[in-house]
Amino acid sequence: MSPRNKLLIILLLIFLLILRWKTLPSLPGFLPGQEVRISDVLREEPKIIGSSQRFSLARIEIKTFRYPKYHYGDPLVITGTLKKGATGTWILEYPEIKETSQLQKTGIEHKILASISAWRRRIEKVYRFSLPEPQASLMAGIVLGSKSGFPSDFYQALRQTGTLHVVVASGMNITLVAIFLINFFLLFLNRRLALFFAFLGIWFYVILAGGEAPVFRAGIMGSLAFIAQGLGKEKAAIRGLIFAGVLMLFINPHYLFDLGFQLSFAATAGILIVYPKIKSFKKTRRIFSLPGFGDNLASTLAAQTLTLPIMVFSFGGVNPISPLVNTLVLWTIQWIMAIGAMAGLLGLFNQNLGQIICLPAYVLLTFFIKAVELFA
């Protein structure tokens, strides 16, 4: 492609983004203290924080009591008085919530999403039944990206040591899932069919993991890589990442100001661009090729090189021990994911079987927790 064509394409993309931005329905204009009534179907799994339950409905943040528990797909009617939140969002605290039968969506895509979400809850149940806390939450966080139900002191410890990213389903999970699925399907299918089913599997996982920004982006990127591979073209991961970013901004331009989106984009870019440079840097090559340790240190440093400016800008600093803690614990992730996936799936059929499979992961999870608590 000539430089001129490249420039044209970039300009076109920027133009389309601006167009999308301009045509986006703006945040509903309310007044603080205004009485509102929202009726909509819940499109996310509420998070449990302490004794409260939080979710957003029609772009309004809802904070309510722990019970009754609401789930993905529940049709709700909420009445309450609006408050303005710290980040400029609208908040309803402990409003009146009623389930309604009039909103029941019967579309096929809705049914699929709701049942995948129910699977997720059942897998989380297997972990909670098999492991104590915070091991169970950590397992659910690593395998499915759920951030619900963490003991608050442990959540703080993860944040302080810069290891919170492990409980966000993201590129790492997608890569592990993809590699596993490809190898599995290749056992009895030809390459094209295996890629196709792995592609379906990835999107099943994206929805299972709650469809949040990082896993969605990783899903798009992973799929693009697969399509490129399926068509016989070489993997162009960096282009895949940029394409995934642009695509997500089309879907929701607000992501541009979403810290999670910024961080995951920067971290992935760091791994794709900076990591190979670190690995090939002559003077330190020996450190970064230490077995089981060098790779993790290199990838953590690479990710942090590009996330550092964002961290400094938004939090006013970054924890210097973070690369150390990450290096210490990251090797456990692939093992925990493998054991967790197996335990989760088999546990759906037999809870005791799930528990037995979970036990070896207990050792790794405990190691992870102790390491994080030591440095917090």
Binding site: F65, R66, F129, L131, A136, L359, P360
Partner: protein, 293 residues
């Protein structure tokens, strides 16, 4: 090293570590009485070997950390849960406990409370088919080497039918908790050798007046987080425990009240509070006992 060998060695190392860990956390032979640090509320755990009894679950999931710290990781069975009464600060954490552990027996009144937590709790009990027994004064329970005796209420409350799936609204409506749920608290007397403990839930002085204990008690849980309407001077003097424990956290009721703290001080009763100490654990062999620091 080939990939296959790596996984083989890795898996082997994991299993060795697991077995070692399982042996390391094997419980000792003492009875442990733990007042969990759950903030404003009650969650009291009794453990002896692999037998556990949990009395109330605190207001939220904090009780899970307490269970995780005191149960060996491979023991996912709690032999008995006692729900003294259905107030939020005693019941709030229990739905999570029921979901995560096998519970052999629940001791609770068979009455209905209107709170959303209660219905979530009832759903979980039905879902996991936990057997429910509604006790009355005089009931004795022998469990793993220690004994529990129920001292209040005098009569069984409600009908176990309310814990059954499909029991219709009208039947349920007939078995509602009285307005003052505190007074309905299940009062438990724990005995292990010469070590005796009174666990009276949230009862007030009125019920305290009719509580009789056969033996001298070593530890008394102060009723209702140190409310001034409980723990009368007469009652404290009659019980004269060696140690009083107040399970309390940040609250807007003024718990523990000055009055109760003064009464304890006047009688020279040693006192520990979970809001100041965090978790309070007492360990005993049935003869000697002590607070674990």
């Amino acid at each position: 090293m080939t990939i296959k060998l790596k996984y083989l060695y890795g898996g082997f190392a994991l299993i060795v570590a697991l077995v070692l860990g399982a042996v390391l956390v094997y419980p000792d032979q003492e009875l442990h009485l733990i007042f969990c640090d759950v903030g404003q509320g009650d969650a009291i755990l009794i453990t002896k070997g692999t037998t556990q009894v949990l009395i109330d679950g605190g207001p939220n999931q904090k009780v899970l950390s307490c269970l995780a710290n005191h149960l060996p990781f491979w023991d996912r069975t709690i032999e008995m849960i006692i729900l003294t009464h259905p107030d939020n600060d005693h019941l709030g954490g229990l739905p999570d406990v029921i979901e995560r552990y096998n519970v052999t027996q629940l001791l609770s009144h068979s009455l209905i409370s209107e709170s959303a937590i209660f219905w979530a709790f009832r759903d979980k009990i039905i879902d996991k088919k936990v057997p429910v027994y509604s006790p009355k004064a005089g009931d004795k329970i022998q469990l793993g080497g220690f004994a529990l005796k129920i001292l209040s209420p005098q009569e069984r409350m409600g009908d176990e039918l309310v814990w059954q799936k499909g029991t219709d609204e009208q039947v349920l409506g007939a078995y509602a908790y009285p307005d003052n749920t505190n007074e309905a608290s299940i009062v438990t007397f724990l005995s292990y050798g010469n070590f005796d403990v009174l666990l009276p839930g949230d009862i007030s002085s009125q019920i305290e007046g009719v509580i009789e204990v056969e033996k001298e008690i070593e530890v008394l849980k102060i009723a209702h987080h140190g409310s001034k309407y409980s723990s009368s001077e007469e009652y404290l003097e009659r019980m004269s425990p060696d140690l009083a424990v107040i399970s309390v956290g940040k609250n807007s009721y003024g718990h523990p009240t000055k009055k109760v703290l003064e009464r304890l001080e006047n009688l020279g009763i040693k006192m520990l509070r979970t809001d100041l100490e965090g978790e309070i654990e007492i360990s005993t062999n049935g003869k000697e006992w002590g607070v674990i620091k």
